[in-house]
Amino acid sequence: MRALTISTVLLALAVPGCQRENREPGADSAAIITVDGSSTVFPIAEAVAEEFGKRYGVRVTIGVSGSGGGFKKFCKQETVITNASRPIKPSEVELCAKNGVEYIELPVAYDGIAVVVHKQASWVDRMTVDELKKLWAPEAQGKITRWNQIRTDWPNSEIHLFGPGVDSGTYDYFTKAVVGREHASRGDFTSSEDDNVLVQGIATDSGALGFFGLAYYTENRDKLKVVPIDGGNGPVTPSLETVADGTYQPLSRPLFVYVNKQAAERKEIQAYIAYFLNQGRPLVREVGYIPLPDRAYRLAQERFDRRIAGSVFGGKGSKVGVTVEELLSKQ
């Protein structure tokens, strides 16, 4: 009985506290910077939040709802910053507009998407984008199932496909770059939200081919074989260098941070963004991603300072094969 009484008292104590509630960005809200979004961008955001928090004593919280889930919260003003591994989509532009949320789009790093096969798949020396398209296009479902259907001198054995979940920005970008349409691919592949599951799957299946973020390949070099991709100018192996200099195409993509324009007037958010864009380089590299060129960070800071709202992609999703510098210079 006593336990019951105690818990009732606890509940009574807890309830009056819930009146204080503040979801409006810009107001005090105890100076917490609320961030959510892409799991791909998370390690970068975590590194920046860690160092920034230590130096300025500002509280930063980061959730991982994925790029899409992040935009939903961002456009409902539940967060002030959202991480995204792809540009904002038309449906999200609409949602933000409906709620009167204006956003400033800032590129913060590059990521490569690695295409990998089993360690012993000796026949795969390179692949062209057309070959990848033939393999991953929606029409290939149930039809392209053997290696020699892609290239005749490849073995007559089954090919098993692995890829990230269809809600991830990585999947969106890969389909846009390879198939030509965002979110369009065959459905008969093993998908997992957890990239380590894909690594395990490909490492233990001799007929496997899959794709995921470059960092998961670099950390598992000994278990996997990476496929050099020919985007028209000869095969290129993904690496920090080839992604940074723009030669690994079309599977290099920029990563973004979106800031609520109204919240951009808050001092601590200005400090966070300035820290991200000016001190972020070594942190981006440390967690396995590729920093943008200095000029791109300067252009991004300028974009933030001038509070230029909207997306350089026009709210239409990814553009393949353009560098962040080219995009930002157009502003």
């Binding site: 506290g17 799991s39 390690p43 955001a45 975590e46 939040a49 959730g63 991982v64 957890d194």
Partner: protein, 286 residues
């Protein structure tokens, strides 16, 4: 005659053997699992790990926000779910009329106990986070968890109340006790150990949940502890999940160490509840 006896003796032995295997096998599996996570955590577990904040450097990362978040969340959840759950069970068993409506309620509660936890997450998001406007707070998380475990508490509490023999109640009534007195002084104290056992199981389930809390808005990175029920928070399973999905193998050690912390927390909380239950049982005066 003797042949039959020997045969039934054999059956009995075989049955005891099977029952023993049924006890040993899960315990063995549990031991292997625990040994495995302890080996995997290889030295990561220590004071610094328990009192540290998350970090991009695996060897510096700690689990304090997750640990504190889990404990606060569980206490809040229990504080909400226990009174309501036991109250509902008491009403259904002792006061409510038995009939078609009560059957319908019973079926529904049993159904709710089987609903996947992520559905409760979606319900919590709409109800606590958005409609009531609690935001992504501890209180919203605890509310969601309370809903999740409420059906289990109600069902197990009803079972416990049913074990109190009718003769005891009738004896109390015969002495002139009112229904409230019978419930308060006779039925509840007798059923209490059973109610607590069910509640311990229910609360244990809540400690391991991650999915509904991710939906409600528990965080992946937070470098401070909750200072009120309105604070943002994270919990152990989410922190572990976060580490498991990182590309760097070093983070897997953190995940294993985090799992050890989660198991230990569960064990400690359960032990406290069991000690509490045993003491209550001893205090019974008849």
């Amino acid at each position: 005659m003797t042949a039959r006896r020997t045969r039934s003796h054999m059956y009995e032995k075989a049955f005891i053997g099977l029952a023993l295997a049924a006890v040993v096998l899960p315990l063995l599996l549990l031991a292997v699992l625990i040994a495995d996570v302890i080996v995997d955590s290889s030295g990561r577990l220590g004071f610094d790990f328990l009192t540290g904040y998350p970090s991009r450097k695996p060897e510096q990362a700690g689990i304090l926000p997750g640990l504190a978040g889990s404990i606060y969340l569980i206490l809040l959840t229990a504080a909400m779910a226990l009174p309501v759950g036991v109250g509902a069970a008491l009403y259904l068993e002792e006061y409510g009329k038995k009939g078609r409506l009560s059957n319908l309620i019973e079926v529904n509660i049993s159904n709710l106990a089987g609903v996947p936890s992520i559905i409760y997450g979606l319900l919590g998001l709409e109800m606590f986070v958005r409609t009531i406007g609690l935001g992504r707070s501890l209180l919203a998380g605890a509310g969601t968890m309370a809903l999740l475990i409420l059906p289990i508490i109600i069902i197990s509490s009803r079972e416990a109340l049913r074990t109190v023999p009718l003769s005891v109640r009738e004896g109390a009534y015969a002495l002139g006790a009112t229904r409230w007195q019978v419930t308060r002084k006779v039925v509840l104290p007798m059923a209490f150990p059973g109610i607590l056992t069910g509640s311990i199981l229910a609360v244990s389930r809540a400690i391991g949940e991650a999915a509904p809390l991710i939906v409600v808005g528990a965080l992946a990175y937070i470098a401070f502890l909750p200072d009120s029920v309105n604070s943002p928070f994270t919990v152990l399973p989410i922190q572990i999940f976060n580490w498991v999905s990182r590309p760097q193998e070093e983070f897997l050690k953190n995940a294993a160490a985090g799992s050890v912390v989660l198991l230990a927390t569960l064990l400690i909380l359960n032990s406290i509840a069991i000690v509490l239950r045993n003491r209550l049982q001893k205090r019974r005066t008849w």
